[in-house]
């Protein structure tokens, strides 16, 4: 019998689907690029170009001693930022070492120490007034001891406010560095005969120096660019961002001075960024996160260390307490404690909810835009190359320079084009405020998504492409689901940062679009500390809720990753 031949049924060969003529990803990339150019590069570029033109024309010849004025401001700004940086690092370094190496079982302290990051710096500024002002609590406590509090308005006020507010930033950065030092390194050093102190100084400190530089950079630029604290507690001590702001918004609007000051701020910030980045690159060690870190068990270190950490945490917490009490006080001062307690500051808020509404609307509008931009930017940065490097610097720019500068740039470019606003609605009114928030804070979601992109296995996307999916489909079905937790985190973090923003808002906002930070600033400026406290509590509530959500989300993601 003949065997039946095997019949292989040949179906039609399905070639890969023909791609769409217009790649949606490409469209998004172009839109993102256009946004960055229009609302970041052009505004900053415009004030730099204006300044160059101004200098070429002979500068501000009618302005008496402009160079002297500029140098005085520059010196003041650099002095503030330098003192703040040194103090913050000096406190944060032992904090990080103690919590990372000596008191590893502490759970509450690391959280307590990051509390100040919840509040915007100007909220801390008005706590500084309540504490150290002319009738401040500390001032009154010291008076019976024959100690007179030095005048707080001026350099001391700015420094105290910034240090209290920025210690967590330095602490978190240095603590991250300490987590990269492998246990074996310190154990070897110990067994070679070094004392624990010698190990810290000779081995650990050099190992994490790039993180210490990073911490210094972050603190320095944050202090250098801040406008809120110097406006409230700076007194006659003028710094670059406050001068740029007051001159830009004053009635005699000579915009040449603030524009020149702004480009000067850009120049200094960028130079510092480049120098410190070079320093960091030179000292960076190929970091792998150590699975375990060393622990020092000296009993004396433990006791003194715990005392030090709790003291710092307590000091950092005092401003919150003060703000809370002031929000409930009828009148506070000249007595030590409020004369009475009331809820009327909160009731007043209830009667005018516009600032709250405005803050929420602006943040809710700006956040999704910033996150979408960040998703697109992150994808481009992952591709690397020149474009990636350029994007890295462009998105870092608004983080590095003062919010005031970005605001001035935006108004400088788009206010004259106001007539076009019916055609291009983005460039005026509340829309411009949203745009300013996106530009100013887009660096936060970019960093979050950047980290998430690097964790994605490229071969998954390559598999999808080789199976015939278009780049857009691959992105939608493969990449985006993996980014999802990071996208949610980026959402919350961006929202928190936008809702706190003061510098750019002060320049760009229009009457009727007062936000919570602007309102706090206005109340604090007119000395209405009760109202300012109540608004601050609302703002803090929003930020705390967002931060809590980020924390819970992070914990869930980690648990799922571990499972």
């Amino acid at each position: 019998m003949r065997a039946e031949p095997v019949v292989v049924e040949r179906t039609r060969a399905w070639g890969p689907p023909a791609g769409p003529t217009l790649d949606p990803l490409r469209v998004l990339e172009v839109l993102t690029g256009a946004f960055l150019v229009a609302f970041l590069i052009v505004p900053v570029g415009a004030i730099v170009a204006d300044s160059a033109a101004l200098i070429a024309r002979g500068g501000l010849w009618e302005f008496p001693d402009f160079v002297g004025y500029l140098m005085r401001l520059t010196r003041n700004s650099l002095v503030v930022a330098s003192i703040v940086t040194v103090l913050c690092v000096a406190v944060s370094l032992p904090l990080a070492v103690l919590l990372g190496r000596v008191l590893p079982a502490q759970r509450l302290l690391p959280v307590a120490l990051t509390l100040p990051l919840l509040a915007p710096p100007f909220v801390y500024a008005f706590a500084t007034i309540i504490l150290f002002g002319r009738v401040g609590i500390v001032t009154q406590l010291l008076a019976p001891l024959g100690l007179r509090m030095p005048e707080i308005y001026g350099l001391p006020g700015i420094v105290v406010t910034h240090v209290l507010h920025l210690i967590p930033l330095a602490y978190l950065t240095i603590a991250a560095g300490l987590r990269t030092v492998p246990k074996a390194i310190e154990e070897c050093a110990i067994s070679l005969g070094s004392t624990p102190m010698q190990v810290l100084v000779r081995i650990v400190l050099p190992y994490i120096s790039s993180y210490v530089y990073m911490a210094s950079l972050l603190v320095f630029l944050a202090s250098f660019g801040d406008v809120g604290a110097p406006l409230l507690v700076g007194g006659q001590y003028l710094v670059l961002p406050t001068e740029a702001f007051t001159r830009f918004t004053s009635f005699i609007a000579d915009r040449r001075v603030p524009v020149l000051l702004s480009s000067w701020i850009v120049a200094i910030s960028v130079v510092i960024l480049i120098v410190v980045r070079a320093l960091m690159r030179r000292t960076a060690i190929m970091h792998t996160f150590a699975t375990e870190t060393y622990g020092y068990t000296q009993p004396s270190w433990r006791v003194a260390g715990a005392a030090f950490c709790w003291l710092v945490a307590a000091v950092l917490f005092v401003p919150y307490l003060v703000i809370f009490v002031s929000s409930l006080a009828t009148v506070w001062g000249p007595d030590l404690l409020p004369k009475g307690y009331t809820l009327r500051h909160y009731q007043a808020l209830w009667r005018s909810v516009e600032p709250l509404r405005n803050s929420l609307v602006v943040s809710a509008a700006a956040t999704p835009v910033a996150v979408v931009l960040a998703v697109v930017i992150g994808r481009l940065m992952r591709a690397g190359g020149r474009l990636g490097a350029a994007l890295d610097y462009v998105t870092l720019l608004p983080f590095v320079i003062s919010g005031v500068v970005l605001g001035i740039g935006l108004v400088r470019v788009y206010a004259p084009l106001d007539a076009l606003s019916p055609v291009v609605p983005l460039i005026s009114g509340p829309a411009l405020l949203v745009v300013a928030m996106v530009s100013r804070r887009v660096c936060y979601p970019v960093r979050v998504l950047n980290a998430a992109y690097t964790r994605i296995d490229r071969s998954l996307e390559e598999s999808s492409l080789s199976l015939g999916a278009s780049p857009a489909t691959t992105f939608w079905k493969i990449t985006l689901p993996q980014l999802a937790p990071a996208v949610v985190a980026a959402f919350l973090i961006t929202f928190i940062e936008v809702v706190k923003e003061l510098g750019a808002t002060l320049i760009v906002y229009r009457p009727g679009w007062v936000t919570l930070p602007v309102q706090i600033y206005a109340y604090a400026l007119e000395g209405n500390l009760g109202r300012a406290g109540a608004v601050s509590m609302v703002l803090l509530g929003i930020v705390a809720a967002g931060t809590l959500a980020v924390g819970l989300l992070g914990r869930r993601t980690r648990r799922e990753a571990a499972a």
């Binding site: 492998p182 074996a184 390194i185 154990e187 070897c188 050093a189 110990i190 067994s191 070679l192 005969g193 070094s194 004392t195 010698q198 000779r202 081995i203 050099p206 190992y207 120096s209 000292t283 060690i285 190929m286």
Partner: protein, 367 residues
């Protein structure tokens, strides 16, 4: 040079005993290996000797000095880790000089000693290099030079070869052994790699679930494993459970329908036993020869100089592994073919059956 003595050393992490009642002595100038699977407590033992881990109970002596409570920086031990732990912020020279400078040795003497150490480990030309510019093998030599530069009382090596590739591992292995012999330094070596331990050590301690199962010279450990675990962990072979029977002078282990001859000198009392047939104990008989057992070759592995094969023998619950020179066995073992085998009692280890293999122990109620 110092001997190391551990006296009933124990360490508990929470409710789990990582190390339980380990007593041993590393003699002066001896190269002693702690061998065992990961999690057996060998590294914890070494860390207690270094002073990096506090014993829960027991004592540690260097010579006659009780160092149980001496902090690590005062123990004067040379420590080398798997991860090298070379200080990345210092040059090779500064790394090796580190311990000497901590000891405030005069700089001239430091330079002389460092040069000498780098010479010994073959890195004399690379003193100015930073660790980032070195290969793994070179980094491990720096770590070794750094540990030896302080002229430690004892040298402690924690899996120092595990991050190196196979070829380099054999090279550095020989080098460590040569150095150790030349300097005559008492050395405690921790490894999970039996080949490493067997080839380098004067004596080996096999650890299992926190306890020390057996201490002995490499050959003794291999030929006469004290426990079923040691038989399985050290060397390869076919491990079976059976019953020891004697008739007159000959001892045999009955496994199913199969009988394994064992050397009378090694045999325990009659009764349930485990038995381990090493590959070299299985002889391949010529097709024409009488006797032996028939079996079908199921798997052949060619590894250059030698050849390994697994043979299914009727009545045996496991495949019987044999090994031999690839020249001798060439053409004689092929998958699917029948071969005739005989077991040589010289290649068989045997021991009394244990109640059950101890699992990693949780601390008892009283501890």
């Amino acid at each position: 040079m110092t001997r190391i003595r551990l006296d009933a050393l124990s360490r508990a992490f929470g409710p789990v005993w990582a190390v339980r009642d380990v007593s041993l002595e590393v003699r002066e100038g001896e190269f002693f290996s702690l061998l065992g699977p990961s999690g057996c407590g060998k590294t914890t033992t070494l860390r207690m000797v270094a002073g990096l881990e506090r014993p829960t109970a027991g004592r540690i002596f260097f010579g006659d000095d009780d160092v149980t409570h001496t902090p690590p920086q005062h123990r004067n031990v040379g420590l080398v880790f798997q991860s090298y732990a070379v200080f990345p912020t210092m040059s090779v020279t500064d790394n090796v000089a580190y311990g000497l400078r901590i000891r405030k040795v005069p700089e001239g003497e430091v330079r002389r000693r460092v040069a000498q150490m780098l010479e010994i480990v073959g890195l004399a030309a690379l003193g100015h290099r930073m660790p980032g510019q070195l290969s793994g093998g070179q980094l491990q030599r720096v770590a070794l030079a750094r540990a030896l530069a302080i002229q430690p009382r004892v040298l402690l090596l924690d899996e120092p070869l595990s991050n190196l590739d196979a070829k380099l591992r054999v090279e550095v292995r020989a080098e460590i052994r040569r150095l150790q012999r030349e300097l005559g330094i008492t050395t405690l070596y921790v490894s999970h790699d039996q080949e490493e331990a067997l080839s380098m050590s004067d004596r080996i301690g096999v650890m299992h679930a926190g306890r020390l199962d057996q201490v002995g010279a490499p050959e003794e450990i291999y030929r006469r494993p004290a426990t079923r675990f040691v038989a399985r962990f050290v060397g390869e072979g076919t491990l079976l459970d059976g019953v020891l029977v004697r008739d007159g002078v000959r001892a045999r282990v009955a496994v199913g329908g199969f009988e394994v001859p064992v050397a009378e000198a090694l045999a325990p009392r009659a009764g349930p036993v485990w038995v381990c047939i090493r590959p070299e104990g299985v002889r391949l008989l010529d097709g024409s020869a009488a006797g032996g057992t028939g079996g079908v070759v199921e798997y052949v592995e060619f590894v250059g100089p030698s050849l390994r094969a697994d043979v299914r023998v009727p009545g045996l619950p496991r495949l019987l592994r044999l090994a031999g020179s690839s020249v001798d066995l060439a053409g004689r073992v092929r998958v699917g073919e029948t071969v005739r085998l005989a077991v040589d009692p010289a290649g068989v280890a045997v021991g009394p059956a244990e109640a059950s293999e101890p699992e990693p122990l949780a601390a008892g109620g009283g501890a």
